[in-house]
């Protein structure tokens, strides 16, 4: 595979790095991520959390997500799915799947991106004009699958 930016970092190495970052709380504290199962040697399934930004309809809510980093990660973007019900552009209303084509960062993925970047970008999108005022379902609801 052609490396788009110098050295191509092995997948597990990358994911371990992201694991460490998730535990150290790198960032501004508004997103969090970590392995869903600590025994998962393949480092595939991750859980993420986004704290709803203030002054939006998502304020004070904590959104839980599932991120799946496939075998080709980080060359291909991970699949992201909201567990907590949310009303947002680009999120499938019935199962919480994030539509990779609607989220710019997933659509134009680069291998330098990471789970953190995805979560932060999603959070940024929560603050966009088109999303911030969307009426939200009552708190505490999750997608059934």
């Amino acid at each position: 595979m052609a490396a788009s930016s110098g050295v191509k970092v092995p997948r597990n190495f990358r994911l371990l790095e992201e694991l460490e970052e998730g535990q150290k709380g790198v960032g501004d504290g508004t997103v969090s991520w970590g392995l869903e199962d600590d025994e998962d040697m393949t480092l595939t399934r991750w859980t993420g959390m986004i704290i709803g930004p203030a002054r939006t309809n998502y304020e004070n809510r904590i959104y839980s997500l599932k991120v799946e980093c496939g075998p080709k990660y980080p060359e291909v973007p991970p699949t992201v799915r909201f567990v907590t019900k949310i009303s947002m552009n680009g999120i499938n209303n019935s199962n919480g799947m994030v539509d990779a084509r609607s989220i710019p960062i997933l659509a134009k993925w680069q291998n330098s991106y990471s789970i953190k970047v995805v979560l932060q970008e999603l959070r940024r999108l929560l603050m966009s004009k088109e999303n911030m005022k969307l009426p939200q379902p009552p708190e505490g609801q999750t997608y059934s699958n």
């Binding site: 694991l19 460490e20 998730g22 535990q23 150290k24 709380g25 790198v26 501004d28 504290g29 508004t30 969090s32 991520w33 970590g34 392995l35 869903e36 199962d37 600590d38 025994e39 399934r45 991750w46 859980t47 993420g48 959390m49 704290i51 709803g52 939006t56 309809n57 998502y58 304020e59 004070n60 809510r61 904590i62 839980s64 997500l65 599932k66 567990v83 907590t84 005022k133 009426p135 939200q136 379902p137 009552p138 708190e139 505490g140 609801q141 999750t142």
Partner: protein, 472 residues
Amino acid sequence: MAENSGTDPAVETNTEENAAASATIIKVTVKTPKDKEEIAIAEDSSVAQFKEEISKRFKANQDQLVLIFAGKILKDGDTLGQHGIKDGLTVHLVIKTAQKTSGGGSSQTSASSGPGPSQGNTDGSANSSPAGNLGTPQGSGPSPTPTQPPNMLAGFGDLSGLANLGMGSANFMELQQQMQRQLMSNPEMLSQIMENPLVQSMMSNPDLMRQMIVANPQMQQLMERNPEISHMLNNPELMRQTMELARNPAMMQEMMRNQDRALSNLESIPGGYNALRRMYTDIQEPMFSAAREQFGNNPFSPSRTENREPLPNPWGPPDTAATTTSGTATTTSSTTSSTTPSVSNPLGISSSSLGNGMFNSPGMQSLMQQISENPQLMQNMLSAPYMRTMMQSLAQNPDIASQVARPSFPKMLQMFAGGNASTPTPEVRFQQQLEQLSAMGFINREANLQALIATGGDINAAIERLLGSQPS
């Protein structure tokens, strides 16, 4: 990283973070979106103990704390070790600001960590029990506190959902503004809201409505200046009527007509007309200026006369003679038409007794004074977008618009009620009530329907109407 952990086996299970005994103290950074603190705690503490420390440091209630580590929410019953929290790592903290959201947050979190581990997780009890946590208080951890609020909220859940519809903020003022913004952007939402049975039931809870109204600082201003309003708010009967009115536009129309009838009665008293005109002029000015800003044309132009159409006849042809009047007809017949709706209209009662009619009460007049003195206040109220929608619908219907030009009660209506909602056909809505009425022996379906419409679906009031109308 993590050099300390593992060097000292923690023999003691005692988890005092200050204890220099054999418990390994680790330093965990707790980060909120606003700031961060380093907290020293024993490595084998439970999350609950950790939260205790945090609540001291952040000066927040333990119940308000939500801890997140590596994308997972830490439950009180877990230990730090379970989540792999070691020295030097960072835990995210969210401090819930309102009780509603905190309950919602924890129920949400318990649900979120549920589906995750269900995919073959070897992790301990902490993660498996939350699957059932949503509705029932589970012994997921020793603390039932996070699960209690969801239960409380189960009944209240929609309300908090409603509240979170626009907001998420506990501040009612912001809440209202955000709600208005919402409604502005989506007019259908208003009808959706109105149709939400919870909203309807909420609106029929006078205490709740009263609190909401009182919380509005504009109302508070008004109340300070005029204690009559607090009297009105304190009268649950009145509140209930008003709420029904807000819900049921047909009823509101009838109310308007009542007012008009009463007004025309007032005109017939010697000197009454002048009083009316005076009052009207007082209100005219600010209303005009306020209204002119809202729409291009002035719906309150004096060219529209008051509505002199007869009241709709809810009791069928036999009673036509009693209820329909034209113009300023006899006082008695209009009195009849004014009192018969009295069951559903306490103000109908007062307006029928012309001497001390509501319009003449000093309280109401001073209220009107207040409003006319402070056009800013009225503009504020009028500028609320949901009022705007209402105004627009009023503007489209010139009859009602002229009625609205009448001061006093319609003004109160605007203050209390949010806006009109479109309702399904009355027959559909009152299907159940109709059946009940016919089961009780009221076989005149037409009359039942009219009565139900007038009372907004209130069976008891409808029965009283029906009984009052039947020739004894």
